[in-house]
Symmetry: C2
Subunit: 523 residues, 2 copies
């Protein structure tokens, strides 16, 4: 798949090759659109929306594919292909939203919103501008399409994370194939394809398992409103750490049993899929041996303890407003633990589900969640943000820096899981993380000034959470962008800007940012 000749890398980019492969991806998207069309048929909803979308998708896909009949990708073409894939799929995937919103009072009548919702889907962000989410306002078919975009986006992320980004050494991403099955990913198409297939199997298997458990709870009477539609829709957005729900109040709408079941699936979605694959194939102890997994679960356990403590002690002012779908008293251990564990897992894995409106919590608890928005999922998972493995390498290398400050002459390599990490990879991870934080700080300023421009009043926590949640593909933030609200009220310029943030964040920033440099297009 990747040409390894270094001469190629000094040539200008062969954009036809990139666009042609994007065409292939779009072509397959038409197949995915059949699912909501069938659902529309079943519910007697508007089939035309999806019929037209399928025709346009097939036409665009084939047209682009014809640009290069034998596409060959160098690193440069891979960057372009990756960036263009998510952009093009977003545009094509927005067609059903635009057609459904056409001429109605729906927020989707605004093409910026349709693109926002589509990008939010394919990047598995889960930030919404759909306004009121209900079957009265939107068809079953359209809401299923929304769920499906996340599930498809998640499949793309798995390939990106284990096959493409490590190859491109983006921000230390070469570490991310560390635990790949077999003897490591070779630079050969069959090997990459085989790995991707293995991980997709784990992805599909977990999706099916979650469906079975959720629908089983329903059949056993523990989840009255988790009918067939919901039991299909939610696994589609859990495994990609997506977070869309056809329920306006997210997972708050369901019983405590459902909430407890969803938690381990969010944990799994943020875990390196290669680990899961190995565990399934007879190495269950692999989780305990993996330092990233231990750090990942350790961070979540620590943040859960802090928030559960705040909730139990009643220090979150909104504790009295806990949903009453499960009878419990204030200060209940089960409720404190459940909501803390659910919310921390949801935020750290960048899923973005809510088991209650955490907007009612104190700023202290919200801040702990904001902190979690930066950690992100594991390498080789569908989680976003900075990623656990980078955080771990940073912690280790900062400790090394303290050591070498005292022993300047000492050679002290940073080790991860028994392997020494290359200094170049560490530099890449430092640079990635700082770039991420710089983009965060500057973007908050951009959103603030843009809001001030139109007289839209924002608090610092709202603006910061909106940026962290879109750049990190988390989804919901606090205040106006809280889990039961959406991004509709931002000026269109900010919404457009956040489309770019979701796009860049999902692709680990560099594939998008290199396209902005002169060196990429010239020399």
């Amino acid at each position: 798949m990747f040409g390894t000749t270094s001469t190629r890398r000094t040539l200008r980019v062969d954009w036809r090759a990139s666009v042609s492969l994007v065409g292939t991806v779009i072509k397959y998207l038409s197949v995915a659109l059949l699912a909501p069309m069938l659902v529309a048929l079943y519910y007697g909803e508007d089939v035309g929306v999806f019929g037209i979308s399928i025709l346009v998708t097939i036409f665009v896909g084939f047209a682009l594919e014809r640009l290069d009949t034998d596409p060959d990708l160098g690193a440069r073409e891979a960057f372009l292909m990756v960036s263009l894939t998510w952009l093009s799929v977003t545009v094509v995937g927005a067609i059903p939203y635009v057609l459904a919103g056409w001429g109605t009072a729906s927020t989707l009548a605004d093409p910026v919103n349709a693109l926002f919702e589509s990008m939010s889907g394919f990047t598995t962000t889960g930030a919404t501008v759909m306004g009121e989410i209900s079957f009265e306002r939107h068809s079953h078919a359209l809401l299923l399409w929304r769920q499906l975009t996340q599930w498809l986006g998640g499949m793309g992320i798995v390939v990106l994370a284990v096959a493409i980004l490590p190859e491109l050494s983006v921000g230390g991403a070469q570490l991310m194939d560390a635990e790949a099955p077999g003897p490591g990913i070779e630079k050969l198409t069959p090997r990459i394809a085989e790995t991707a297939r293995a991980l997709w199997l784990a992805y599909i298997g977990l999706t099916v398992l979650e469906f079975l458990l959720l629908f089983g709870l329903n059949q056993l009477g523990y989840a009255p409103n988790m009918g067939l539609y919901n039991a299909v829709a939610h696994p589609l957005t859990t495994m990609p750490t997506g977070g869309f729900s056809p329920e306006a109040r997210s997972i708050e709408a369901f019983s405590a049993a459902v909430q407890w079941v969803v938690i381990p699936f969010m944990v799994a979605a943020g875990t390196n899929f290669a680990l899961i694959w190995r565990a399934i194939n007879g190495e269950p102890l692999v989780f305990f041996e993996d330092s990233e997994f231990r750090f990942y679960t350790g961070v979540m356990a620590a943040l859960t303890a802090v928030i559960a403590g705040l909730l139990f002690a009643g220090l979150g002012p909104g504790f009295a407003e806990l949903p009453t779908n499960v009878p419990a008293i204030d200060g209940s251990v089960e409720r404190s633990l459940r909501h803390a564990a659910f919310q921390v897992t949801s935020i750290v894995t960048t899923t973005g589900y809510a088991s209650m409106d955490f907007n009612t919590w104190s700023d202290a608890a919200k801040y702990v969640l904001l902190f979690g928005m930066f950690v992100g999922g594991s390498a080789g998972s569908t989680g976003g943000a900075i990623k656990v493995v980078r955080c771990l390498v940073i912690v280790k290398s900062l400790r090394r820096e303290l050591f070498t400050t005292i022993h300047p002459e000492a050679v002290s390599p940073v080790r991860l899981g028994g392997r020494t990490i290359d200094e170049r990879a560490i530099r890449g991870i430092y640079a990635f993380t700082l770039l991420y934080l710089v983009i965060f700080f500057v973007s908050v300023g951009v959103v603030f000034v843009d809001a001030a421009r139109v007289g839209y009043d924002l608090t610092a926590l709202e603006a910061m959470s909106a940026v962290a949640a879109t750049l990190g593909n988390v989804g919901p933030g606090f205040g106006v962008v809280g889990p039961m609200n959406g991004y509709t009220d931002f000026p269109w310029t900010s919404r457009a800007y956040m489309i770019l943030l979701m796009w860049a964040g999902r692709l680990e920033i560099l594939p998008v940012f290199v396209l902005l440099t002169r060196a990429y297009w010239r020399s």
Copy 2:
């Protein structure tokens, strides 16, 4: 001053040598205490407070000095000496506060507050827990001592920045002697002493010049309340980027003319003193040639433009509440520009003066200031926070990272002012900056949870600004820690924690943090 033998570095720390030199510093502090004692005599205030302080200081200083009659410092001893110096001077310098507060209703009766105020002084932070600042509540002598601690702290910082930290290569601090006078700082005591003397001359000269201008304005009738006391007190806290003022409402208390005069002195205080020294000695163009200075002024100009725009357009809700000491209409160009320039300069240089209560501004404008709190002053200045030169190197090396992502085989050194920066120094700068940000994020959590513990309600902006302002030695933040308020309302545990933040932040973190590692004391 520094033993260069590497064998020494593998030995345990010779703490007696470090403590002995700390004793010498404390001994000289007793001389400085003579100034407020004379002021107390002049105003007929309590002379005993300073008399006792002087006796204790002399006794402690001589006692510690006797621990080692011929102290020899290796790198390890230098770290200990630097950290202990600021800590010991803080304890000794707190004695006048404790004695003055003894048995009164003053907040200084609490020893944590006395230590906080003293650390805030010697670290040139300017965060206060003094409660109401007025000559009714505090003596002229005590308020002068408060000003003087900052001026002395600034002298310490100059030596630290140009002679000690570069020698220890703390977080890329070796870059900071780049523009030193003459052929560069050699590892020889006479050379270091000579450099320090030159920079102290510039420091003292600028202090005197500011005094002459401020007192001149007063004599000419442009600054009625800038009498002799105030005209002495303010230069003492401008040049160290300190920010303490004997006026409760900081520089808002003075005329627009005074505010305009103070701005360039804050800019100078945040400039590399070696540049100023060279400019004085016949190379005025050195400012335009220095890339750090251009970046430093560029950042301030850009942030000023944004805030001036917000203020002029009236988008800062508090614009109507501008102080009325200068007659002007809303939307006045002069007032928008003056307050924007003053506040941005004050925050970016980490001075911390206020020309108005910027608490009344919108969250958008406050956020821009919060952003500025991280940039900090230039290398070789008295400014704190991350420091401009590190920001510049990060911007340059992130650009390099984008380039090498496309050209992985390219060798692409990062250059600053015509010199190539060593990769080890870049790694140090990355590590320092990430460590700084990690400490920031974690500390905000600590302050939040501690506040929740006692039921003290904080907003995210308040908590973040309090941490950024103490860790970065800026001084005031927003809300409860706004420029006209103070840190008194925090629980004592948070105030104690912030004492540590000011201490670590002022010493560029690593000298304090290495003391916490086992490798420092053992091996």
